[in-house]
């Protein structure tokens, strides 16, 4: 290999970012600068992005760590709305626990929890209009629950069983529901970002009133799609909200591997001239307020907003991941912004709207609902060896009409079904029907 002949110059150094703590280390986040409630002001909804660039390094907060709401961002929600928020947070946590266990019991191939990040999907879903279009990533199951998507359908999808509305074609949790304005989850990262912009551009071109909102993690802000999306949104002033859930970890890569050592993820919007704000992602009221602010801007032709949700991924990336092999075990316990569910609960108790007994009761009700729904879902079959759907369905929906070459391949698969799978698939059917 050829090297420089200028031996009198200092040698260059390649920087490889490294997280502060690895397994065995004692996590200590005291160096993270957390602003007090009220420090980050609330700009007028018509403000120009250039006049509020400081928001990209601020932190929108409403709840302090004792559960007291305050500051200019307090959305002053009614207690019934806050209780509904808590209800969904408890519900999704119960759902996640149950589905995680189902995967561990071999009932399905894969699951992803949103523990610790519940506020980043439940609060926005409640702040948006029910028909605003969602272009989700894979950890926004809370949105579907807020929009009353049937939990049974979610489970059927997770089990890829015969009632799965997606016909067993997608990895578990890759939901889709046009009726709930929830776009089909891809599984590829950040591809939904420019799609959300295109949808929002279409809505604006058609002089509609609906806006789009999309989610990705801090890790996938490194994808080209993220930057294409921001460019397009800025160029066309698209009515879209970009949510970046900065949960500190992209599988085993800490946020520094995505560029987080030098700047906040919100500040990526600044160069595009996009309103960019940063919110305490573990504060459901702050997330609600930030989303409402961004949605009002979008709806009044004030353009796109990038919201960085500063949060922490409490669990593994997915059931296929073991975070204890790359990060300090007690990181979540030490996380300075606490747990979003506990913080909302503490707030409601302080307000006199809630107490421990009712909370225990709610948890039990949710657990019971989840268990009962799981039983119903399992009557439709669990993943097992799969093959809950007719073989023909594998060839449908590739195109609107099946071309000859797929028809031929379908016939081949049907012949294999008779010669290879006939006893097995009969057994499966029997099982599913009980």
């Amino acid at each position: 290999m050829r090297k420089s002949d200028k031996q009198n110059l200092p040698s260059l150094n390649l920087h490889i970012p490294e997280p502060k703590f690895r397994p065995g280390d004692i996590a200590d986040f005291s160096d993270i600068d957390i602003e007090d409630v009220g420090v980050t002001a609330r700009p007028d909804e018509n403000s120009k992005p250039i006049d509020m660039q400081h928001m990209a390094t601020g932190l929108i907060r409403v709840l302090d760590m004792e559960g007291i709401a305050g500051g200019p961002w307090d959305p002053k929600l009614s207690s019934s709305i806050k209780l509904k928020m808590l209800h969904h947070m408890v519900q999704v946590r119960s759902f996640d626990d149950r589905m995680f266990r189902a995967q561990r019991q071999g009932k399905t191939s894969f699951y992803m929890k949103c523990t610790g990040e519940e506020a980043t999907s439940i609060a926005p879903a409640m702040a948006l209009a029910h028909d605003d279009m969602i272009f989700p990533s894979y950890r926004q199951q809370g949105i579907l629950l807020v929009r009353d998507y049937p939990m049974l359908d979610m489970m059927n999808q997770i089990y890829s069983n015969r009632e799965d509305t997606l016909k067993g074609r997608q990895l578990p949790i890759m939901y889709s529901s046009p009726e709930h304005s929830f776009f089909s989850i891809s599984g590829n990262l950040a591809t939904q970002y420019p799609q959300a912009v295109g949808w929002a551009m279409a809505s604006a071109a058609k002089q509609d009133t609906r806006i789009a909102a999309t989610w990705c993690g801090e890790g996938s802000t490194a994808e080209g799609d993220f930057h294409s999306a921001l460019t397009f949104a800025a160029v066309y002033n698209a009515p879209v909200i970009f949510n970046v859930v900065n949960n500190q970890w992209a599988i085993s890569s800490f946020s520094g591997i995505a560029g987080g050592e030098r700047a906040t993820f919100a500040s990526r919007g600044l160069g595009y001239g996009i309103a960019s704000i940063r919110v305490d992602g573990n504060d459901p009221l702050a997330v609600y307020a930030a989303t409402q602010w961004a949605a009002n801007r979008a709806r009044t032709n004030n353009g796109p907003t990038l919201i960085e949700h500063f949060t922490y991924r409490a669990e593994g990336h997915s059931t296929s991941d073991d975070p204890s092999s790359y990060r300090a075990t007690e990181e979540y316990a030490k996380w300075p912004l606490g747990d979003p569910l506990e913080r909302l609960k503490a707030h409601l108790i302080r307000e006199g709207e809630w107490d421990e007994d009712r909370h225990e009761m709610l948890k039990k009700t949710m657990d019971d609902e989840v268990k009962a729904t799981q039983k119903l879902a399992e009557k439709n079959g669990i993943l097992g060896h799969g093959m809950h759907q007719e073989f023909e369905t594998m060839f449908e929906d590739v195109f609107e009409e099946m071309p000859w070459h797929l028809r031929e391949q379908m016939e081949m698969s049907l012949a294999e079904k008779i010669s290879k799978f006939s006893t097995k698939s009969k057994e499966k059917k029997g099982q599913g029907n009980d």
């Binding site: 509305t165 912009v197 295109g198 799609d225 294409s228 590739v398 609107e400």
Partner: protein, 345 residues
């Protein structure tokens, strides 16, 4: 062929015909929108969208940032909204930054959502060489698209077909990639690079109805009939093959595929079973090119009718060269040599 429509006929080159198809569809369907680099006010680097922004407004025909990934990603979102976007990728060579939005998104949305969402976009993109475009303005990447499941692949060879196929593509509810052989935008280039090119006006297929008509996707056109040989080709190479056939009075069926996927296998089978000899001609690189698929299909379905090995005439497996363009191009010499070989056996 299909019924001739009743609207007045005009002499059009490929660009005129494509512009006319876009005009007709913008007029018929408010949900059709055009987007791409330089396509708005300027009308496109090849002028395919000339005057359309003026006629239909900026919200329906607009310029985009130089981001194929953004163009195609936005088009997927527009399709999900209910629009029928027709993105232009300025050169097929530029499509790769947007490939993921085609392969993993547009092509699979119907499937992965079990029909909840569709991606009814038509991607127009000029392709192929013969214009001294070097390695970044000459490629023929069609086999990438036939290889992925869920995309229809169209390549017209005449103005008449270009318009009718493009209208069908835009009305189709699946994603379509519409490759425009840019070497024949202005005239049916025969591969004799040292001879003057005839303008389209001297070709019958330049007589194009001004109004709406469709050519069905998935139907090939037999542009020359014969008994001794089947030549399967598409795009620019239809005219190159035809020039050889005419020059040497070859007794051949010349099949212009027009649609690569879904493929008109019936026309191919019937022809090869009749002639017993098969030559496949395309400009794209040879290895894993679409010709390999065609050769496999012919071998599988017509093996006992074959009297000679199937031959392929293709571009070489090199990047598209600049100064050696005519050495690379699978022109009349290569085709004639292959025909001689096939007919000898």
């Amino acid at each position: 062929m299909i019924d001739m429509p009743s609207s007045p006929v005009k002499t059009m080159n490929m660009i005129d015909a494509i512009n006319s198809a876009l005009d007709v569809m913008l007029d018929r369907d408010d949900n059709v929108v055009l987007l791409g680099e330089d396509i708005g006010y300027f009308g496109g680097v090849f002028r395919a969208t000339a005057n359309l922004q003026e006629k239909y407004g900026k919200r329906r025909v607009f310029d985009t940032p130089i981001s194929e990934n953004g163009i195609l990603g936005a088009a997927v979102g527009m399709g999900a909204y209910g629009l029928r976007p027709v993105p232009e990728i300025q050169f097929a060579d530029y499509i790769y930054p947007g490939l993921d939005q085609i392969v993993s998104e547009a092509a699979r949305i119907r499937y992965r959502s079990a029909g909840d969402f569709i991606s009814p976009m038509t991607i127009r993109t000029p392709f192929g060489g013969g214009i001294f475009g070097g390695q970044t303005h000459s490629q023929s990447p069609e086999s990438l698209f036939t290889h992925m499941s869920g995309v229809k692949t169209i390549i017209p060879a005449t103005p008449y077909d270009a318009k009718g196929l493009l209208i069908s593509a835009i009305e189709d509810n699946d994603p379509v990639i519409f490759f425009e052989p840019k070497r024949i935008y202005n005239g049916p280039f025969t591969g004799y690079y040292d001879r003057p090119v005839e303008p389209w006006s001297k070709h019958i297929a330049s007589q194009v109805p001004e109004g709406y008509y469709k050519i069905p996707l998935g139907k090939a056109d037999i542009v020359h009939e014969g008994e001794g040989l089947t030549i399967i080709t598409y795009g620019t190479m239809v005219h190159v093959a035809m020039a050889v056939v005419n020059e040497h009075c070859i007794d051949a069926d010349v099949i212009d595929l027009r649609t690569l996927l879904p493929l008109d296998i019936e026309t191919i089978e019937a022809s090869v079973q009749k002639t017993g000899r098969c030559l496949i001609v395309h400009e794209a690189t040879r290895t894993s090119g679409f010709g390999a698929e065609l050769a496999a299909l012919v071998a599988e379905r017509c093996f006992y009718h074959l009297e000679a090995p199937i031959e392929r005439v293709t571009g070489f497996d090199t990047p598209y060269p600049h100064s050696l363009e005519w050495a690379y191009f699978p022109g009349p010499v290569r085709i004639t040599t292959a025909i001689e070989k096939i007919m000898k056996d």
